[in-house]
């Protein structure tokens, strides 16, 4: 994960030697901070921690049903990965991979949660009724899937969207304001 954004020259042809080279300018890309504001240490931390925190947030999401966690805390943790990424790398604009607009994410989350609540109606049950499925997967063993997990996934996405929206408005929004004000005063 440390070799992000530096695509080797002539790598356009997909060879077996370079199939795993990142093709996206991923984590810290596009807009970078002013040199004076940059801290390499923080960027390093972001690069290493970001995937870990995201995985942890997914763990929280799935573990919620039997351990501490859930969609709400999972979404907040994932959001905080993005906060870290923002603090280290500056605003996420359209040149970066994660350019999904936060309101869209919020809407998707809300839609998933609402649709999940209506699905039981199709099977003649009450709204928001949940069902438990248990099945066995090789290697992983017995897996218990509760249909209310989808509600949790909706919550997760919505919370993530809310945090990203916060970053967009209060974070880069105010940042752009400050920059604009400075430009205007000069």
């Amino acid at each position: 994960m440390t070799d992000l954004g530096s695509r080797p020259p002539g790598a356009s042809a997909m060879k077996w030697t370079n199939w795993d080279v990142p093709t996206e300018r991923w984590l810290l890309s596009g807009y970078t901070r002013d040199r004076r504001e940059r801290t390499v240490l923080l960027e390093l931390a972001a690069r290493t921690l970001f995937p870990t925190v995201i995985v942890f947030s997914l763990y929280l999401l799935f573990a919620g049903h039997s351990h501490t966690g859930g969609g709400f805390s999972g979404g907040l943790v994932a959001g905080q990965a993005f906060v870290l990424r923002y603090l280290a790398g500056g605003r996420m604009d359209d040149s970066s991979t994660v350019s999904m607009r936060p309101p869209v994410l919020i809407g998707i989350g809300l839609t998933i949660a609402t649709l999940t609540s209506f699905v039981p109606l199709l099977f003649g049950e009450v709204v928001l009724e949940s069902d438990i499925y248990t099945f066995t997967v090789p290697l992983l063993g017995k897996i218990k899937l509760v249909s209310s997990l989808f509600l949790d996934i909706g919550v997760y996405l919505l919370i993530l969207g809310v945090v990203l929206d916060l970053l967009r408005t209060l974070g880069s929004g105010i940042e752009a304001d400050v920059a604009a004000a400075e430009r205007g005063q000069r």
């Binding site: 949940s130 919505l158 004000a181």
Partner: protein
């Protein structure tokens, strides 16, 4: 019936797509559902008049006892004929009237929706369903009158129609509920079968009458109707002839059998109706705009109808039915005729029109037919109605005789303004050049001619109308010798009244010059329009005052108000009720002590902090400390959430702090406020401390709900984590609600932050050009929080003088953007 109403609304939804291609096609397609409704109701007419009622019920919310019940009885049959028949005619007329203008594209779907909700209104048997359709007609009329909302006048008229009728509608809803709860049924048919008694019914009657009076434009609420004349003519014709204003009369007619035992029901309708009939008729005598003249004519006729519909006798009820039908026919015809004149001649001012009778002889003929019905001349339908009306009141006590006198006077004015209309529209006038106008095509002419001719034909075929009106009127006591509608009852008092009205009306018209000058000399102390405007202005002033006081724009003020409210409401309960704090312990686990010490130190630090960042960080410390408490008490889910939210809050605070001065303002703008603020803060803190101790001591054992949650988490929700089971299963509905709130809040905050940014960017982008509108838009909120002096103190809101401490913070306008 349900399918018909639904078809209207569905086609109305699809129509805008047709409108994109052709306006004419839109109007034609729009005429199909009312035509279907008309055809359906005509096939059923025989059964219904034979005494059979058609009922359809759709279970809506059976648990709440809510059902949509539609019922076709003779009164509903009559109204359906009017609503659908006029709907077809008006929409066909629109094909010619609107041509390919954009107005038609908007109006046709709305007219169709209007016809649909009106159909639902007249067919509905359930009072609550009636109310829903009632308000839907209000909304449709608002959109129709307002049109594209371009002219100030149409916006104002639409708003007036909306406010007045919604005001009445709300009163009526209250009346419906009182009535329905007292009778334990909301079905009109059951109410008619078993009229309830008691004091509550009297109150319900008044409330329902307010609704009917506002809708049917009775004095003193009548002014919205003439104002609504700004709408295009087909819309006015439909509003006046068949729908909207007829709804009030229809409702009174439908409920009169229920309120037979309530004395003031018939008194109120008689008094308001008669006064409305006379006053509006008098107004119509002086109007120059033909449409306005007709509008006041409608108000006058509605007064007449209200008297008849509310009287509660069989003859009056028969007269009401005949007049409802007659008025629908002649008013539609006359409006459409005036529309043709307006369309062809370019004016409808009777001072400018001259000699149209010669240019458009056929139009003059049908106008005369319709006018004959309006004036109550034989053999038109209007004559049948008026005869019956006079007959209905002539044999009562002195009160009834006063009503007859009022009705005769009203009829005199009716004949007067009918003559004025015909004379104004078609006569040649001395000193006025003959108006240039081409004859209209059949598309405009036929829809106007049909109802005019029908008015006379139905009058001649009076046994038919007699059956129809008797179908409704038979709810009332018929007496020994039931009355029948007829053109000739022999020489009788009603005939004398009619002759009196005719002679008086023609005299009034002949003396129009003198009467108008007399009117100008009369004092005019009461003006309903002025009254309405005064009330609206007063409301706006109160709104501005209240908003200015409450939305002072100062965070300390808001906080103070909230704290004081909590203290007075909850605090007084705490003081007056003796709630002991039981089982007070110093600590449960020793780890709580160091955490408490850390929190207390941070609290002292926050209060003493002078820099914003310090304060925010210390608040964060408090939050983490409380999260630690949760861990110690064994609530990891709560602790995790607390930590995460605390972190996020901290980040958000730091983001915002970049735009705020680093220090809290030192100098207080109002030093005298410091002590009260401290007192409020301390009192709030003490209250919270005691409250939390009392609350926690009140719960020594698990509640029954918690036991159930824990017991059922595994088998019911498949979760071993009961917190999660509660969130996603037991209380999942709450979760959905909460995330919806969160989504809306996040979007709202984003919009606020981004809006101020865009606005400033625009203002800066082209300063000289858009300065004025931009500052205009910003004026109201600024005026709002300009009222309260900007106070300092911790966390004060927008602070105009605050930028001096920070060089890079930008100008004052940027300061305003970020609120905490």
């Amino acid at each position: 019936m349900l399918a018909l109403v639904a078809a209207h609304l569905l086609v109305a939804l699809v129509l805008p797509f047709v409108a994109a291609r052709s306006t004419r096609a839109t109007c034609t397609v729009a005429a199909l559902p009312p035509a279907a409704a008309l055809a359906w109701v005509l096939t059923r007419a025989g059964d219904v008049l034979g005494g059979q009622e058609i009922v359809e019920t759709l279970a809506w919310a059976p648990h709440l006892g809510l059902e949509i019940t539609f019922r076709l009885d003779p009164l509903a049959l009559l109204m359906t004929l009017l609503v659908s028949g006029m709907g077809v005619l008006v929409l066909l007329y629109s094909v010619g009237y609107f041509g390919s203008s954009a107005d038609g594209k908007r109006s046709a779907p709305l007219l169709l929706a209007f016809a649909g909700v009106m159909l639902g209104l007249v067919l509905a048997d359930d009072l609550l369903v009636v109310y829903i359709f009632w308000e839907l007609t209000t909304i449709c009329s608002f959109l129709l009158v307002g049109q594209a909302g371009i002219s100030r006048e149409s916006r104002r008229s639409a708003m007036q129609a909306l406010l007045v009728t919604i005001f009445g509608g709300l009163a009526m809803l209250l009346g419906f509920i009182v009535l329905g709860e007292a009778a334990e049924t909301y079905l009109i048919s059951e109410l008619v079968a078993n009229p309830p008694g008691g004091d509550a019914i009297g109150v319900a009657a008044v409330l329902i009458l307010i609704g009917a009076f506002t809708k049917s434009a009775q004095l003193p609420f009548h002014n919205w109707l003439p104002a609504a004349m700004v709408a295009p003519t087909p819309i006015s014709a439909y509003l006046h002839a068949a729908s909207m204003v007829k709804a009030g009369v229809f409702l009174v007619a439908a409920l009169t059998p229920v309120f037979l035992g309530v004395a003031h029901w018939s008194v109120l309708t008689a008094v308001f109706g008669t006064v409305t009939m006379i006053v509006a008729g008098w107004r119509a005598l002086h109007e120059y705009d033909l449409k306005k003249l007709l509008a006041y004519g409608t108000v006058s006729q509605l007064g007449f109808l209200m008297v008849l519909a509310g009287a509660g006798t069989r003859i009056a009820a028969m007269a009401a039915v005949a007049m409802l039908l007659a008025h629908g026919l002649f008013k539609a015809a006359l409006f459409l005729i005036v529309g043709i004149i307006d369309h062809q001649a370019g004016t409808r001012d009777l001072r400018e029109l001259s000699g149209l009778g010669k240019r458009m002889p056929w139009l003059a003929v049908i106008a005369t037919l319709a006018a004959a019905s309006m004036a109550g001349l034989p053999p038109a339908l209007g004559f049948l109605g008026k005869e019956a009306a006079f007959e209905g009141f002539l044999h009562g006590g002195s009160g009834d005789l006063v009503i007859v006198a009022g009705l005769v006077l009203g009829s005199v004015f009716t004949v007067g303004y009918t003559a004025r209309l015909l004379w104004g529209a078609f006569a040649g006038k001395r000193g006025v050049a003959a108006t240039e106008a081409r004859s209209s095509g059949a598309v405009l002419f036929l829809p106007a001619a049909l109802p005019a001719i029908a008015g006379v034909v139905l009058g001649a075929a009076y046994p038919l109308v007699d059956v129809l009106s008797a179908g409704y009127a038979d709810v009332f006591d018929a007496g020994a010798d039931p009355y029948h509608l007829a053109l000739w009852h022999g020489p009788s008092l009603p005939l004398l009244c009619s002759l009196l009205a005719l002679a008086g009306g023609l005299t009034v018209h002949a003396a129009r010059g003198r009467i108008t000058s007399l009117r100008e000399r009369l004092p005019n102390p009461l003006n309903a329009q002025r009254g309405y405007e005064r009330i609206m202005a007063l409301l706006e002033r109160i709104a501005v005052g209240v908003t200015g006081r409450l939305q002072a724009g100062s965070l300390p003020t808001y906080l103070g108000v909230i704290l004081l409210t909590v203290l007075t409401v909850s605090g007084s309960a705490l003081l007056t009720r003796h709630t002991p704090i039981e089982d007070l312990r110093a600590w449960d686990r020793i780890l709580q002590v160091p955490l408490a010490v850390v929190i207390l130190i941070a609290v002292v630090g926050v209060v003493r902090a002078r820099r914003r960042l310090t304060a925010v960080l210390l608040v964060g410390v408090i939050g983490y400390g409380i999260g630690g408490m949760f861990i110690v008490d064994g609530a990891p889910d709560l602790a995790l959430t607390q930590f995460l939210v605390e972190t996020l809050t901290l980040v958000a605070f730091v983001f915002v702090l970049r735009r705020l001065p680093p220090r809290f303002i030192q100098s207080e703008p109002a030093p005298g406020l410091r002590i009260p603020k401290m007192l409020i803060a301390i009192a709030g803190g003490v209250f919270m401390a005691f409250a939390s101790m009392i609350f926690s001591s009140a719960r020594q054992t698990r509640s029954g709900v918690s036991e159930q949650y824990i017991a059922r988490a595994e088998e019911g929700a498949g979760a071993t984590n009961v917190v999660n089971a509660i969130i996603v299963d037991f209380r999942a509905f709450d979760t959905i609600g909460e995330i919806s709130v969160l989504a809306v809040t996040a979007t709202g905050v984003a919009s606020l932050v981004l809006t101020s940014r865009y606005q400033r960017r625009r203002r800066r982008g082209s300063l000289p050009m858009t300065e004025q509108p931009a500052s205009d838009e910003a004026e109201p909120p600024r005026a709002g929080h300009g009222r309260g002096p900007p106070r300092g103190g911790p966390g004060a809101g927008p602070r105009r003088g605050g930028s001096r401490g920070s060089g890079a913070q930008g100008s004052g306008s940027q300061q305003e953007e970020v609120r905490e």
